[in-house]
């Protein structure tokens, strides 16, 4: 247990240090992150305006709220493990990672969380600007607020496990980027990043609910915005939990299989 804590502490220190080093890159990164929700927001506001003020239950202000919260939830849940593992396989450094006594997922989690904590002030700053400029409309529902944090936490773990398992594709093929691309495009549509899921055609919504995508991003967002009934919220968290268990199982299977494949190739 002490080892675990040490790893997390160490990772935090490293992330802080490197963030401070690359300040300019950080500012650029922030600008890129303002643009994402901004573009979607602007486009959908235009849609709502040309449809008489609202589209599918979303006014321009509602869209602003949606994409703002989406940006924050996305930031809280996103990972970059797929890129990391592809890079490590290409550089040949994966072997040294595997030789460590502790399961590599721990340092990945620590890296993820610490980087996000460091960049959180920047994100909040961006959020503040967006609020001032676009005046989003929030409908705060107390119980939904209370349920939000656990749902967000579940979403984070779920997304991490799913993407980490997918990252292991690096054991089987060097063309992991192709796999990554497909996943990201799917995530774009199915987790509500292009548009709120309620605006997408039924087949897409169905796929999103069956696959873990809805539960990794869209669900916490909808919860925060107070757009779900208590029943829907409970079902949602149940779906999250179910997927969590499923993904843990999948992870173990893929991990073991991956190790076998990797060592068979001669690392």
């Amino acid at each position: 247990m002490k080892e675990l804590r040490d790893i997390y502490v160490q990772q935090f220190k490293t992330s802080f240090a490197s963030m401070l080093q690359y300040r300019a890159a950080l500012v650029i990164w922030l600008i890129g992150h303002i643009l994402e929700p901004l573009i979607s927001l602007v486009v959908w506001s235009a849609v709502s305006r040309s449809s008489g003020g609202s589209v599918g239950g979303f006014s321009a202000a509602d869209f602003a709220a949606y994409f703002l919260v989406l940006m924050l939830v996305n930031h809280a849940t996103y990972t970059w493990v797929m890129f990391t593992y592809e890079y490590q396989v290409r550089q040949g450094t994966l072997s040294s990672v595997l030789l460590r006594p502790l399961h590599p997922i721990h340092s990945d989690i620590a890296d993820n969380v610490s980087s996000k904590l460091v960049t959180l002030p920047g994100m909040l700053f961006v959020a503040a600007i967006l609020i001032v400029v676009f005046r989003p409309a929030f409908h705060f529902v107390p119980w939904a607020m209370a349920a939000f944090l656990p749902a967000l936490f579940l979403a984070f773990i779920l997304r991490f496990l799913v993407e980490w398992t997918l990252a292991l594709a690096a054991f089987w093929t060097t063309r992991v980027s192709a796999v990554n691309q497909v996943y990201f495009v799917a995530a774009l549509f199915l987790s509500g990043q292009i548009a709120p899921l309620s605006l997408l055609p039924f087949p897409v919504r169905l796929a999103s609910a069956i696959l873990p995508f809805r539960w990794t991003v869209a669900f916490p967002v909808e919860l925060f915005l107070g757009r779900l009934t208590p029943v829907q919220a409970l079902t949602g968290m149940a779906a999250q939990s179910a997927w969590l268990i499923l993904s843990l199982v999948l992870l173990r299977i893929v991990w073991r299989a991956g190790l076998r494949v990797y060592s068979a190739v001669g690392a």
Partner: protein, 261 residues
């Protein structure tokens, strides 16, 4: 003429560099198709809820997507790789090899690297444009086509000059690559008409980071929405920026050579 001959030689080098990596063609094709698919699907979702977007009809937005891919492909084919190589060569000192050649250095650095597989983006862009033109049909005549060509040319010169100015900054500053990233992010915004964005952003995207000239204005020309003043303004800006970038480049070289100002 000379420029074309040199361009041909550099394209040849680019093609040969990539021939060893044929798989990259399929990777690029896959990525481009995925990107295009995403853009079209996004469009489909939006137009399932509305008939017009900021006054633009779906076939006009399609034309914009086509221009976005076409121009984006051209930038990623020649402008971006060459400017990135320029920045690298300033830091590593290999720019000396370019400066010692009996040829205009700006010409050499602007053509020096060709990412040949980005042609897929250009081809896809043309394909989308063809479809859009079919749908726009009768509304596109010779005037619109001429305006489109002129707007594309002006946009190309503006984007090139802008990138050259940014890359020339590397004579004075070290981490210029980061600034280039801003253009990437802002170019994404060019997938939608500039008129959608709030005033301050529109200004930013037109005069500070000239995305509007790269995508919206040529698309406007095709849709018959381009006014004379705008086209003339774009042409004038292209001329001015080209001259400014050349002067800035010369200043950069003087600084690099330690010439007293």
């Amino acid at each position: 003429m000379r420029v074309l001959r040199l361009l041909f030689v550099f394209v040849r080098v680019g093609v040969m560099s990539e021939l060893a990596y044929r798989a990259n063609f399929f990777v690029q094709l896959f990525e481009s198709l995925l990107e295009l698919g995403t853009a079209l699907a996004g469009m489909a979702v939006i137009f399932s809820h509305t008939a017009t977007l900021g006054g633009w009809r779906s076939d006009e937005i399609l034309a914009l997507v086509g221009v976005y891919f076409l121009v984006g492909g051209a930038i990623r084919l020649l402008i971006q790789p060459s400017m990135e190589q320029l920045i690298e060569s300033v830091h590593e000192g290999t720019l000396d090899f370019t400066l010692i050649k009996p040829e205009d250095a700006q010409l050499l650095v602007s053509l020096q690297r060709v990412e040949i597989w980005k042609l897929t983006d250009i081809v896809l862009g043309f394909g989308v444009l063809a479809v859009a033109l079919a749908r726009l049909g009768a509304r596109v005549g010779v005037r619109q086509a001429a305006a489109f060509a002129a707007a594309l040319l002006a946009g190309g010169v503006i984007v090139y000059s802008f990138w050259l100015i940014l890359a020339t900054l590397s004579f004075w500053f070290i981490r210029v690559e980061n600034i280039l990233m801003i253009f990437q992010s802002m170019y994404e915004a060019g997938r939608w008409p500039v008129s959608l964005y709030p005033g301050w952003l529109r200004f930013f995207m037109t005069f500070l980071i000239p995305v509007a000239f790269a995508t919206t204005i040529p698309a406007q020309a095709l849709a018959g929405r381009l006014t004379w003043p705008t086209l003339l303004g774009a042409a004038a800006l292209a001329g001015v920026l080209f001259i400014v970038s050349r002067l800035f480049w010369r200043a950069g070289i003087r600084h690099y050579s330690g010439a007293s100002a």
